[in-house]
Amino acid sequence: MLRFVGKRLWNGSLTLFALVTLTFFVMRLAPGGPFSRNRKISPEVQANIEAAFHLDEPIWQQFGRFVWGLLHLDLGPSTRFRDYSVGDIIASGLPYSLTIGAWAVLVATLVGIALGIAGAMRRNGFTDYAAGTVGVIGIAIPIFVIGPVLQVVFAVQLHWLPVGGWNDGWRSLVLPVVVLALPNIAYISRLTRASMIETMRENYVRTAVAKGIGPTRTLIGHTLEGALIPVIAYLGPATAAIITGSILIETVFALPGIGRHFVDAALNRDYPLVMGITLLYGALLILFNIVTDLLRAWIDPRLRHAR
């Protein structure tokens, strides 16, 4: 067990290092730099600014400097936001992104599993079709179309919820969470439905039914436990989907999270900020993939022995 976690962490840190290296060099190779703007500044000033951020050094030296800083948990100063370090910016944006992401995962898991079970229990019934329709909508209509449409309906027309921002307490959370959760509800309900139907045919479920322990206990204690394994495996990809989604959500709903910061930083060539957020996203993704594997092994003993 411990060896497994250690191996995954080691592999994960290798992946992270590859990601950081690639990002570093791709950023430097991309045309333009953090201080090449339309506004003309004298060459001396330009040289001074670049020297202050060590951009005049050879690229290998810059990379070494970055890795050295990383080992000291120092991501450096932002080239765009004066007097702010990358750490400060991430610390200020992360609470927004995490709040929305966590709520979206919670809502998506609960609603998705509920819809999936409902669909599987009453196959081809009304609930099944309704859940299927929600699923198709969630998968086919992109976030950046659904988001604005819901904004128009619930904010501009009905005035129930704010259009965007973070000033109305829980009410400003509703639309972003719903929109971010929707594609994941779709995937989770489809997965749950398919694996429920498969599990209901298993011998141990039939045994449970034959023993006469009642439909509710069979469902919770037997069918659901087996059926949820593929759903748990989706947790890893779901993290990636939430990251992608949060970048869009924060743009659509004008939230000051790190997703929007990332896009702006990439467009402005704010090298240190891009590196910092890439590192954070990569680490989150790897961490959740490991947690997913551990959860699967915990629930499904067959996987434990296979390793």
Partner: protein, 296 residues
Amino acid sequence: MPAETDPLIEAAPARHASTLELQFHRFRKNRLAMLSVWILALIVVACFLGPFLFPFTGQDADFDNIAAPVDLFSAHPFGTDDFGRDLLVRVLEGGRVSLTIGFLGAVVAGVIGVFYGAVSGFVGGRVDGLMMRLVEILFGFPYVILVILLSLLFGGGNVALFAAIVFTLWLTPAVVVRAQAQGLARKEFVEAARAGGMTGRHIVLEHIVPNSLSVVIVYGSLLVPEVILSESFLSFLGIGIKEPQASWGNLIQTGTTAMATDLRLLLLPGTLLAVVLFCLNFIADGLAEAFDPNDR
């Protein structure tokens, strides 16, 4: 090449074609999927031929009709935008870009994935380990970040976007085909081909790739909506296709800025994108069902 191998090569495709025929027959009986095919075909034709029916292009400004409303019987059926450009023509031209990138991207990513996976699965051993290690590392990357960075690297525009999307989307077909190739490499007919003196390159091309085709079609059909989504996603964020060139992503973006006063700028491209994605998903579902009836 010895003469004995010739019947072998000819026999394999003949049997394969009949399975394929059967599968497409099954697909044709799926009403929802066939309806999607027709709607999609209609949209494709409209996007590629429609703009020629108008005397102006999507970049020509009509200064007499700025921000004209919907009027189906005027020169601008769906009105114009703030610059006096015809909305319908812009949406159709945007669709041309999105659809081209979608289909070409899926084909190229699919082809790269198929050959990578086929070689990796067929050769096996240390080569396979190394090749899959690379895939694993790339899979661990947050996909959006990679696409955003790569399209910056290539300097923006159509080709950059295309390259960035293909670079990130060939992984899934590679893994799927590798699993298929591993199974095929142990089959008797592959062993027979090897005994008959076929080289590894030939076996991959003549046996492994054709026999993985049905899996590839199913996964490839899922790639198309994914590529289209990635394109519009990037253009929406202002990283992909930029004004004045139209794409569904940047048209939707323009629409969201004006949505409080004028919904049609958002709804026309948004609806069209959603319909295309619906169709592509139904087609992919239909293909999956037709190629693997035991799945449901």
